[in-house]
Each structure stands twice: as C-alpha cells, then as structure tokens.
Symmetry: C2
Subunit: 410 residues, 2 copies
C-alpha cells in the first residue's frame, strides 16, 4: 500500500465524516431526499467534484453529477456512482463511501493528464433507500429513464407529496424526463459499496466483485379492524388490527425461512394509538428478497395467503399496495472482468464473487447500460446502523481497484 | 318521560355536541389534557356551572370544579364527576356525558331552591384516559390526594414532560397538593358514565348500577434487538425487535383468554422505522384487566414469562416499566342503594348490577370517599371510537336517576 494511496483513503474517510455531520437528527445521521440536508450534501459533493476538475450540475431528479471529458468532448461515458441519502439513524458508509471513492478516482484520472477514450461521469443519487416516500432508487431510476409517473402522489410521513417535495427543493416535476440518459450516452456503470454482509470479512478479503443483485419487492400493507375500548370490549367482539398484523409479522419470518427468501417488516404504525384503545388500523411495510425472483414471488404468495386466513378469522381486512418491484440483476461479464482485474491489481489473485442481498442503484442503471459493482469489506456485516465501519487499507485498495477497472475498460 | 325531562336531555346532548367540536384533530375528536382544547372545554364547563348558579374554580391539576352550598356554607359535599379528556379519534360521550349530566343535576338542585344537608360539587377531570402521558386518572388522583411525584418526568409523544405541560397550561406543579380533598370534605362520589359494553342493551335496560370496577395494570415495554440491513443480514444474525414484540402481542391475547383476563396492546412504535432496516427497538403498551386483581396479576406473570422466553431465543431484551396499577374497586353498599333507588324512580323496578371492565375516575376517588356509578346504555357496546351513541330517553332517565340518588342521600 503506497503512502499516497493511504493519504487518498484518509481524504475519502474524512469526507465521509464530513457528510455524516450533515443530518436532520444530530447526533444521529438521518439524511432523507429533497431535504435541506440533501442540498448541503449535494453542495459538498459538488465542491469536491469541481476541485477534481469536473464540470458539475444537479439533474432534474436532484442528483449531483459531474463529468470529465475524454480525448474529445461529447464521448459516451463510464458512469461511477452511488447515493448520498441514508436510512434513519444510519451509518456513514452505505452509499456515501461509493460516491466519495468515485470522486477520488475521477480526481486521479483528471490529475493524470491522460484523457481516456470515453468520458467519465460521477452521479451522487439523492434517493436510493426510499426512506422518505417508500419507493426506492428514485435518483437512479430517473437517470435510467424508468421514472414511474404514479410516484408523484406518494406522501412522506408529514403528508408531503413527492411532487411538492421536488418543488420545495427547487426542481420542476415536469422536467423529470430530462434526467434520463440514452443508452448511447453511457458505456458502463460501476458502483463501489460496502458489502453489508459478513462474507468478505469471514474470507479475509478486502474487496469482492458482485455477480448479481437480489430483486426486492416492497409492499405497503394496511390492516383494518375496529377500534374499541380496551376494558369494555370482550374478545368475541374484538377486531384487533394489531394482533392480526402481529400474526402476519411472525408468519412472514417463518415463511421466508421455509422458502429461502428474506422478509422484513421495518415500519409499523398503529391507530388510534392509545394505551386503552384496541387498534382499529395498522399500516406496515414488507420488504421481500431472494436470490431468484421466483423464490421471492413464491414467498409473497405465501404471505398473501396468510393474510387472507388471518383476516377471515379475525374480521380484519388486509389491503396491499406494491411500492417497488425490482427484478434480480446480473452484472455484465465484461464489467465483472474489469472489476476483477482492478481487484487483482491490489494483490488479491482470485477475487471473490458475491451475491448482493441488498438493492443498489446499479439495479436501476441496468435498464440503460451494463453494470458491475465492487464490494468493500465492512466490520461484522453491520449496515443501516451507526456501527457501520470500514478499514483505511480497504478503502485505499477500493480506490486503486476502481481506478484500475476504469482504465481496464479504456 | 316528562317533556321537561326530555328538554333537559336535549340540552345535555347539545352540550356533548358542543364539546365534540373542541378538538385538536377535526373532524375527529381528540382532546388531550393540558392542551388548548382542554382549556376551551374547561371554559365551556365553567360557563355552564356558573349559569347553573355554582361557584367555580380550576384546581391545581387543571380540573374544572363547581360547588353548590347546602343548608349552610362549608358543609361536606357529595361530589359528582367524570372527565373531559378523550382518547384519539374518540366518541363524544365517554366521560363527557357524565360531566354534562352532573351539571344538569346540579342545575336542577340549585333551581329547586331547597338546600340539601350537604354541599354538592361537580368535578370535570382533565386527564382520565392517560392518553398523553401514559399514566391515567391524573385529575382524580390529584383530587383524591394520591398524586405520584414520579409522574412529573413522564413525557408525551413530543418529549414534553408533565411538569412542563402543567406550566404551559398556567398551573404550578409545586401546588399540586392543594388539589387534594380531605376525607372530611366529601360524603360521597357519584359518577354517571356510558356502559362501554353491550350488557344493558342486551337486557333492554336504560340504566344500571355498578358493583365493582376492574383494576388495570398499564405497562410500558421496550424490546431492544439490533438494527441492520434488511437485505444483507441473514436470519442467523438477526435480532429483530419487531418479530420478537409481535410474538408477545399474539401470546398476550392467547394468555388473556386462557386466564380469563383482558390484554390490549394499543400503542406500538418501531425504530428506526424504515422499509429496508431490521427494527432495532420497539416500544409498546400493555393494558391488563380482570374482574379480580389476582387473575390480572397471574396474566401479567404469564406475559413476563413469555417475554423472557422470546427474548432469550431471539437475542432481544425486554424492559418493562409499570405506569399505572389500580386495584379493583368495590362500590359502597350505601351509595349503590342510593343509585338503585334513583334508577327505580325511572320505572326500572329491579336495576341491573354491572361489572365495569373499564377504569373510571371513581377508582381514584375510592381512596378518599365512598363511590358508586350509574351506567347508561350505549349502542352495541361501542366506545373509544366515533360511533359511540346514546338515546335521548336514556339520557333523560340518567339525569332523573342521578338527581334522585343525590336526594336519596339527603
């Protein structure tokens, strides 16, 4: 590991720390899309891109972008990206590390003075997690040209529509299509990201190449029973929406284990929400994943059947809305080879190939260009919580490997 | 039923409608204690008490009070009361009807020009439900002299302490003890209330006399696991606080049915609360009741054992805080006889004796004087939701019966 490489990695980690201070919820890190925090994070990333010598802009979906021209202006681009938004009470590396590593790579490429036979662009997406509006990958879907017009009416927890949030952020919903890139504009999308799993650490590797990304289904469920007095209402008259929903939460885990998928209920809210009132309504989220779409879809069918049985037995109605459905994405052989070559350049002769249970912006970009991902070891597989951590040496290796992957495409 | 009696009942129902418009959450009725809505409800009740000819004041707990002197000033009082606060999205009669019926009764007593051998007071308590701070019966516990000093630090959903809410309402926490009445100040407490159950309607009766009131336990539970990424975290590494809590919610219902008690989880919140994050922490409420305290306590022990088993198996820690513990209260024979006499005066020769599964301010008052309650038929046993309803004729009978009960004590 060179001293210069370690210095670059230190800059990368210092920038992650600087972004971790841009939060709606100190001392916790919570940065949702289209908020003042998003604007501040965009401003930081824009400054770093400009300092690296790139032209910069914010696209019609609020993503911070930068471009380094190739041997002549206007060439198709290799796009490097990830996202700047976080879940609530997040760690500081999920998404963010990928953006900052990409900026470091283009800084080196620009500083080298050797233009490439393609442009290199960076995209820092503003909504990958889907925390605020339920639908995920908003920034990358806009860039990939697969924006869903029904999203405009989605509401955040305060009842603000996505359309209103765009306008409050200074964006024009009517211009969303201008964020879309044509297939001819791009030659590849490469994304560096923490693994969010324990496999690299268990194998003693710093980096890995992703073979495929699980497709997630996200479903909003509402269970409607009848509110009533906790003391005066006998069990035979109860239609308790929370007991019904709780049966489904427990069953979803059992069914997921049986089918080999993963089911997570991350949000659940109860109305009217008083100590002495039987819940009349419960809303919850379902996040379903599997290595193969068929397994995930079988899991969803089994959970639907469970809701029908519980609802019938308890006099509770379950209504569902599909918020997000991403097919599993296979990374391109050509780009996997380039990433693997980049990893081999760091001294790992046989790069490990990983499956990603988590979704990534790369899934959206697959609609418009070939994609591949570089995974970076994180401690104990921890992600989506403050204890996310990475090693300086691994970050230095990631910058080297991603730069080498881009050069391998030249 | 006399035309004058029906006119009085119409005034009672019109006042309930007027109070139903005093809400934080139109068109729903939500009136929590120590809020601007509480102050407006107090102002209405104060005007009606003054119009009835009573002297009025707001006590050190924010309860609206009025007093009609007896044959000479300063005599001990028969206290009539109930509460003006509501659960969220409430009906318009739980508590409120009892206050307004009491005001109608003292109006008649004052208008009769025949002073009684005791004073008659009305207390309209501002926090019976415990919706805002978790602990219930705050107004009646202050008046009964059983205020709990640990309550000052309880927080509402916005993190406002009870002490701060008192001050914002213009009350001085240091003066809370001045709300307490000595046993010698009171000769009885009588409370009219909707049944909140289906028994009177099933039996074709307008009114009933309460024999005893179930004691409730209210417990705040926190389940702490570990947050993590919904896609990247395999089941063997999960410590999902929501699946653990859901197992307890389902088991609490089963254990309650087995023991003959009632368990209700009315509130449940999830952190961090994102679609794609495994819940690291869940907070929920438990409301436990039974006709006998021993049954209720057995139910609580069984739920505690269940939490220990689930927590051990899932790597989730359950912590509990007892918020409220009321023993079952038996109504005094003397006052039950007076209420029964009042009901007989309305033409029901053998008044029905009911058990109250719901808690009432009368439970708190039992610490300082004898208590009894008059139950009023409500449609379908519905309470704690907007569909609460009562019949005009039943309300007229209730005013007659409560007035007659007071006169029977003279």
């Amino acid at each position: 590991m060179s001293a210069a490489g370690l210095a670059d990695a230190r800059r990368v980690l210092a920038r992650c720390d600087e972004l971790a201070a841009v939060t709606a919820d100190p001392p916790r890190l919570t940065r949702l899309s289209l908020t003042p925090e998003h604007a501040r994070a965009n401003a930081l990333a824009g400054r770093w891109l400009a300092e690296a010598g790139l032209s910069t802009w914010i696209d019609a979906a609020g993503s911070r972008c930068g471009r380094l021209e190739g041997v002549r202006p206007g060439l198709p681009a290799v796009l490097l990206g990830s996202h700047l938004d976080t879940v609530p009470d997040a760690g500081r590396y999920d998404g963010i590390l990928g953006v900052v590593v990409a900026i470091e790579v283009v800084r080196r490429l620009a500083a080298s003075g050797r233009p490439l036979p393609f442009a290199v662009e960076v995209a820092a997406f503003g909504d990958e997690e889907g925390t605020r509006f339920g639908a995920a990958l908003l920034g990358s879907r806009a860039l990939a040209g697969t924006w869903d017009e029904t999203w405009w009416e989605l509401c955040d927890g305060d009842g603000v529509t996505l359309a209103a949030a765009f306008e409050a952020f200074g964006l024009d919903p009517a211009r969303i299509a201008t964020a879309a890139r044509a297939p001819g504009d791009l030659v590849a999308y490469l994304e560096a990201h923490i693994e969010q799993g324990p496999s690299l650490e268990a194998a003693g590797r710093a980096l890995g190449v992703v073979g495929s990304i699980a497709g997630a289904l996200r479903i909003a469920v509402t269970a409607t029973g009848r509110a009533g007095h906790a003391g005066g209402t006998a069990y035979e008259h109860r239609r308790d929406a929370l007991v019904a929903a709780s049966e489904v939460v427990v069953a979803a885990e059992r069914l997921a284990r049986e089918t080999g998928g993963i089911a997570t209920v991350g949000r659940l809210s109860v109305w009217p929400g008083a100590v002495n009132v039987i819940p009349g309504r419960v809303a919850f989220s379902l996040d379903l994943r599997a290595a193969a779409d068929a397994v995930r879809d079988r899991l969803w069918s089994a959970i639907e059947a469970c809701m029908a049985e519980v609802g019938e037995r308890r006099g509770v109605t379950f209504a569902t809305t599909l918020l997000h459905a991403a097919p599993a994405v296979h990374c391109s052989d050509r780009l996997r080879a380039a990433v693997a070559a980049g990893i081999r350049g760091t001294g790992d002769a046989e790069p490990m190939v990983l499956f990603s249970g988590a979704g990534h912006d790369a899934m959206a970009l697959a609609a418009v260009t070939e994609v591949a991902m570089l995974f970076i070891r994180c401690h104990d597989g921890i992600s989506h919580q403050p204890a996310e951590s990475v090693r300086l040496e691994d970050v230095a290796a990631a910058v080297d490997a991603l730069e080498a992957a881009v050069l391998a495409l030249a």
